[in-house]
Amino acid sequence: MRRHLKHLRYVMGENPVTVFAFSLFTLILFLAIFGPWITPYDPLATEAANTLKPPSWDHLFGTDHLGRDVFSRVIAATRLDLGIAVSAVALSFLLGSALGCSAGFWGGWTDRIVGRFSDTIMAFPLFVLAMGIVAAMGNTVENIIYATAIINLPFYARVARAETAIRRNAGFVHAARLTGSGEVRILATQLFPNILPPMMVQISLNMGWAILNAAGLSFIGLGVRPPAAEWGIMVAEGANYIVSGEWWLAIFPGAALMLAVFCFNLLGDGLRDLVDPLRRT
């Protein structure tokens, strides 16, 4: 553990960008957990006398067309956006690693079926497939999560398959087999923990893309319904006002979305350096 911390400090010291990304990540996590309690105004409260006001000390990010405080809404939206992305990524991680590990471990028909399945999903433009899935299953937040999970599944399955396949005949696997462990047990207790580091990198690189994807779906009117505060919807609502110069409606939630995605991408790069120094760019 101590050695890991030392290595972590070394990587952080080497790359100030990772430190920045890590602080940003902590902030986002904080806002997602405590956001609803620290907003200065109720994110849903409308105020007819105070609509479309530019940023001021009272309303840091201004107010929207219904007089709602944009700052409070941007903060309150963190939980929903992050929640969707985390659930989707968790789902595709679990399912993807199960499929990928079995394919890499047993090979043969399992491998062929899983490979064909991922190839078929990848044959679609992924965002378009997500649109189709949500249209077919119904326009709800849960289905946004399922759609995002399905389109990300192949990435996890591929990494898990590749990492399992190269360790399939490793010494520790033979040793476990000699001690009488069953195949499933070897896969779960010996191989799976060993492929976790590259999978973690994949999660972190994938998280930003999952957030973007979910926000894009709600931008075109799928999933999250108004008046809920969500970055994609807020940008969509603000889009109508940008041509008349009320920029704060769309720019602030858009910037929040961009920062969150940027943070996860930087973190992913940093984590990859930590796990695999050879692949540094």
Binding site: A123, P125, A250, G254, V261
Partner: protein, 340 residues
């Protein structure tokens, strides 16, 4: 040459399972409608008898395999269903709007390639220079940009603040008439008609949305070009070429770039997939009358046949693009055909 033809034929055959998979998923999506599709299509006023009638008309009372074969047969005959919101066949609606989307996507991709490839090559030839740092910054920032946000940002700056761009509403300003339809690409059609004014207007409308798509596609292409060029420049054949006294232009252009172009071409396939998705968002931001806008309208109106047709059309288009890229790769790759 013969071996190359065989290779190309093999690639064509490899696309068949993809097409089959795409059709299967598309079929599953059409049958996964919430609730009973027969009840949905029969309408709100339907009684038991008419629901049963619709069920038989749609073939929903048969086995899954029969239903699938009917579905494939219909697709092959060009019967992709009727759009409920417009009352016209889905294929007609899609074909009519496809040129608008393609014009935008291809120009966006072209812009991205024109900027990203030289940038990646420069960054690879001058490691740790300002070009390299710029390239890295663009690559990290570029993948974090939500396309709809970039689009709105550009509209705010270039339309509202500077007033350089025309209003972001559609393919042509309302002052102009669309050029006589030949290809459906306004830029090409106005060139054919020799109408310089319309050409200018069409280009002016295209610049911002295409730049938005270009910014989005820039990052992965630049990243791949840089990495591939770094790999090629560090390889032994480049060292040998240098040692042989070839000029640096020949080494860079003929030896390094030709080999680095292969992974970049492969990346273009992935980028195109992302672009087709991003296109939907950009079309909404700029009220672009393409298939993306059509799909969004259909989604809002629960017009399932139209949405499924859109998804299937995009997937088939993507399969074709991948196939084209694979064929080009086979033809370009200097190593193919050497084994025999």
């Amino acid at each position: 040459m013969g071996s190359r033809l065989i290779q190309v034929g093999r690639r064509l055959a490899q696309a068949l399972p993809s097409v089959f998979g795409v059709i299967v998923i598309s079929f599953v999506l059409t049958r996964a409608l919430p609730g009973d599709p027969a009840v949905y299509f029969a309408g709100a006023m339907a009684d038991e008898e008419s629901i049963e009638q619709v069920r038989r008309a749609l073939g929903l009372d048969r086995t899954w395999i029969e239903q699938f074969l009917i579905y494939v047969g219909n697709l092959a005959n060009g019967d992709w269903g009727m759009s409920l919101s417009t009352g016209r066949p889905v294929t007609e609606e899609l074909m009519q709007r496809l040129p608008a989307s393609l014009e935008l996507t291809l120009l966006g991709l072209g812009l991205a390639v024109a900027v990203a490839v030289p940038l990646g090559v420069l960054a690879a030839t001058r490691p740790d220079s300002w070009v390299d740092h710029l390239c890295r910054l663009l690559v990290t920032a570029g993948v974090s940009l939500p396309t709809f946000f970039t689009g709105l940002f550009l509209v705010y700056i270039f339309y509202y603040l500077l007033g350089w761009a025309p209003s972001p509403l559609g393919r042509l300003d309302i002052l102009y008439l669309s050029p006589p339809q030949v290809t459906g690409f306004y830029v090409i059609d106005s060139l054919i008609a020799g109408d310089g004014e319309t050409l200018g207007a069409a280009l002016a409308q295209l610049v911002l949305p295409a730049a938005t798509l270009g910014l989005f596609a820039l990052a992965p292409i630049a990243r791949m070009t840089r990495a591939a060029m770094l790999g090629a420049l560090g390889s032994e054949f480049v060292r040998t070429a240098r040692a042989g006294g070839l000029s640096s232009a020949v080494v860079l252009g003929t030896y390094a770039f030709r080999n680095a172009a292969l992974p970049v071409l492969t990346t273009l396939g992935m980028v195109f997939s992302f672009l087709l998705g991003a296109n939907v968002l950009v079309e909404k931001v700029f009220s672009w009358p393409g298939i993306g806008s059509f799909a969004i309208e259909a989604l809002v109106a629960s017009d399932y046949a139209a949405v499924q047709g859109f998804v299937l059309a995009m997937a088939l288009l993507f399969v074709c693009v991948n196939l084209a890229i694979d064929v080009i790769l086979t033809l370009v790759d200097p190593r193919v055909g050497l084994d025999e």
